[in-house]
């Protein structure tokens, strides 16, 4: 029997890769698809996906909603909600290529929207919080409708299948992005639908993740106190919400966020110089329930940058490499070589040490 993702918790192994140009130069999607080929055996054909930043320059001030619908009825219900919630600038079919490797294709559409000013004012919300709440509403209240991308000038593309096939299905060779992440999934059970594939995303946050976190339910039950609803029961979903909560709502920096979710051991904190130790201790004492344990390697995508992070014990592989303005991150060096055979400075960041790359200001 197939369960819908969210009705059951499905552990997964995975492959991840990412590339970014510090100069904000466009990178073609073809290169990302290529990076996943040598890691084929890290996926099992039950999930693949990509996130791309800077792909909708003509709509850069609007939020791009990518939505799966299980039926025409769910589309109608969801579109009625979208109309009363947003000003819809453009609504269209997602461009896809029908290929035999990708089947059970749902209705996939994308909408470029802005929040209704009057509603924003009435609810006393900033537009990002408004969008986040609307996404939570659709994903939990409207059956068979699922927003899988909701940021500005970026988009997530995912499906059940091998990542190489998913890339061809979404015609990624037609997209140019300054930053990409990619994911191939190895779930232990067959996910009943496409929502559970990675990257997982909220606003411009995207997360690709390899691992199975042992702190899941502690993290989930904590983050749900703040209005997040973990509908998919996946690690990636809860990690995305944690990042959104800490950075957007609590105002932490990415480095501070990393030292919450992959907090240094107490013994390490004790050895730090006093000012740093005080700060690390404060963060650990303030957010104990957001410590993530168990194996993970994640790449967090956001507007203008990437952050890679391993669990404290580094229980999952992850390497980085560079070439000129390009920076690469992947589960295996082979994936980096597939993108850039002459990559330099191949390096494996230590567990719990964030690796942050940002595009130069003004270049994205």
């Amino acid at each position: 029997m197939k369960y819908r993702e969210g009705e059951v918790r499905i552990p997964s192994g995975c492959a991840i890769s990412a590339a970014i140009s510090r100069e904000g130069r466009p990178i073609n999607g073809e290169s990302m698809i290529r990076s996943m080929v040598p890691m084929h055996d890290r996926s099992n054909g039950l999930g693949g996906g990509f996130a791309a930043y800077g792909i909708y320059p003509e709509h850069k001030d609007e939020f791009a909603l990518h939505i799966f619908f299980g039926s025409g009825a769910s589309r109608h219900e969801c579109e009625a909600y979208l109309k009363e919630t947003f000003e819809i600038v453009l609504a269209e079919e997602m461009p896809i290529r029908i290929i035999p490797e990708i089947t059970d294709v749902p209705i996939i559409r994308r909408y470029f929207v802005t929040p209704l000013r009057s509603a924003l004012h009435r609810m006393q919300l900033d537009e990002r919080e408004y969008i986040a709440r609307a996404v939570m509403h659709i994903n939990t209240e409207i059956s068979d409708a699922y927003v899988f991308s909701s940021g500005k000038n970026m988009g997530v593309f995912k499906a059940v299948g091998y990542p190489e096939d998913v890339g061809r299905f979404y015609r990624l060779e037609e997209y140019e992005a300054y930053s990409w992440t990619a994911h191939g999934r190895y779930p232990t059970n067959t996910p009943g639908w496409w929502g559970g594939a990675h990257p997982f995303s909220l606003l411009d946050w995207t997360v690709v993740h390899n691992g199975e976190i042992s702190s899941y339910d502690a993290n989930r039950r904590y983050i749900e106190m703040f209005g997040y609803k973990c509908a998919l029961q996946t690690d990636t979903e809860v990690i995305t919400y944690i990042v959104d909560y800490l950075v957007r709502r609590q105002g932490l920096t990415l480095e501070e966020t990393a030292s919450v979710i992959a907090a240094p051991f107490w013994s390490t904190i004790e050895r730090c110089e006093p000012e740093k130790a005080e700060k690390l201790k404060f963060l650990r004492m303030t957010y104990p329930s957001l410590l993530i344990t168990g194996p993970f390697s994640i790449v967090l995508g956001f507007e203008g940058g990437l952050m890679a992070l391993n669990d404290r014990l580094k229980l999952r592989s992850m390497v980085t490499g560079e070439k000129d303005d390009m920076v690469f991150i992947a589960s295996e060096e082979a994936a980096i070589r597939a993108m850039e055979p002459n990559a330099e400075n191949i390096f494996a960041p230590s567990g719990g040490c964030p690796f942050i790359v940002k595009v130069k200001e003004g270049k994205y």
Partner: protein
Amino acid sequence: MGIDYLYPEFEVRRSSNCIDCKICIDQCSYGVHSFDEKSGMMKADDSKCVNCQRCVCFCPVHALKIVKSDNCMRDNANWSGDTVKEIYKQASSGGVLLSSMGNPKPAPVYWDKVLINASQVTNPPIDPLREPMETKVFLGKKPDKPRRDENGRLICDMPPQLELSMPVMFSAMSYGSISYNAHLSMARAARELGIYYNTGEGGLHEDFYSYGENTIVQVASGRFGVHSGYLNAGAAIEIKMGQGAKPGIGGHLPGAKINGDVSRTRMVPKGSDAISPAPHHDIYSIEDLRQLVMSLKEVTGYKKPVIVKVAAVHNIAAIAGGIARSGADIIAIDGFRGGTGAAPTRIRDNVGIPVELALAAVDRSLREEGIRDNVSVVVGGSIRSSADVVKAVALGADACYIATAALLAMGCHLCRSCQTGKCSWGIATQKKELVSRLDPDEGSRRLVNLMTAWRHEIKELMGGMGINSIEALRGNRLMLRGVGLNEKELQILGISHAGD
């Protein structure tokens, strides 16, 4: 059968190994053993035996054992022997039945119906012998949204916290109900372990002020021994609203136990009964609690966390919500199987609810209200092993209180006769010659051993789950599964059934 219609519950059996050394006579504080000069034989008065096992442990030739009497009343499934005996006792005395220690009835123990997860294949178990495994816990309110100074640096202001090396503390037992040496053993062990012990409501003996950093001082309805020096001596202050063994009931330390030191520490005249009223007479409602919490904080300069201890009763989730909004930093919930120095038997055995269900309900409700960060949650009554601790933390507790387990470590054999004041192990007594039987060096060493062993076991269990820090276990209910529980019980505990 005597005029009280009761046949002795236990029989003292002495084998031919006996060498008439008379150690048992010295050791028995209940006067069971004697030597009959005429016959040259050791004798025993079974009717006085409470089965404390003292003589058994001290007999150098293992000639003694205590057995349950096989004298039987006629079988009756409705009227058990215990029930009938209680009727006889009350018909004889006209009084309320008193009991000591926790509820001995076969009440449901949910810990035993909950099983713990372990990692296989999809993620690795972690070996605590090879990798760091953290059990440190902080108790107290979490700060609100962090603030920054003008340079953008985080302002690291933390409300007052208790730092524990592991999520276990020694629960409240007053000086008076237990002995000086028992308190000293706990104080020393708490300091060595980096945890806390709790004064109970008997005040703090002047000798123990030096252990203040590892002491929680209690304020109960009798306010015995409470003054500003006392409040400032401890690391935290606990307001005792109730106790699991006797919810809704006050306390009564008989005058016989109020000797010189106890009298001075409690600030109660020598020989007079120390009676704690059922309610705090300045707390008849939740807004009154807030005033006491704030008064105590005022006295201690807002530097010490305030714990509010309540018995697990039917409406515990709502009560905990009120406490979380009272300014208190920590809620301690005491389950109905919790121990006591003395409680009315009917109350002990029939009032309150199991702590597992109370904890699950409180943790869920505080999260639904979005106020879980306002308070830490500590549970007790009864936590019997490291597995219970792990299950409690996974259900949502920040830490556990243990008392009976600590007494057992010091030698208690659960004879449930604390109310007699004749504790042969030197624990629940104020008689000098008995108190001296508990060597504080030995007592603290055994407490440290017990906690060290538990800590190892907690690490092993955590490592098996692939968790290397206790924070990631707290409230992690996915790590628990129920066996033999019905839908409603699973729903309240917030866990799935095994196999699901």
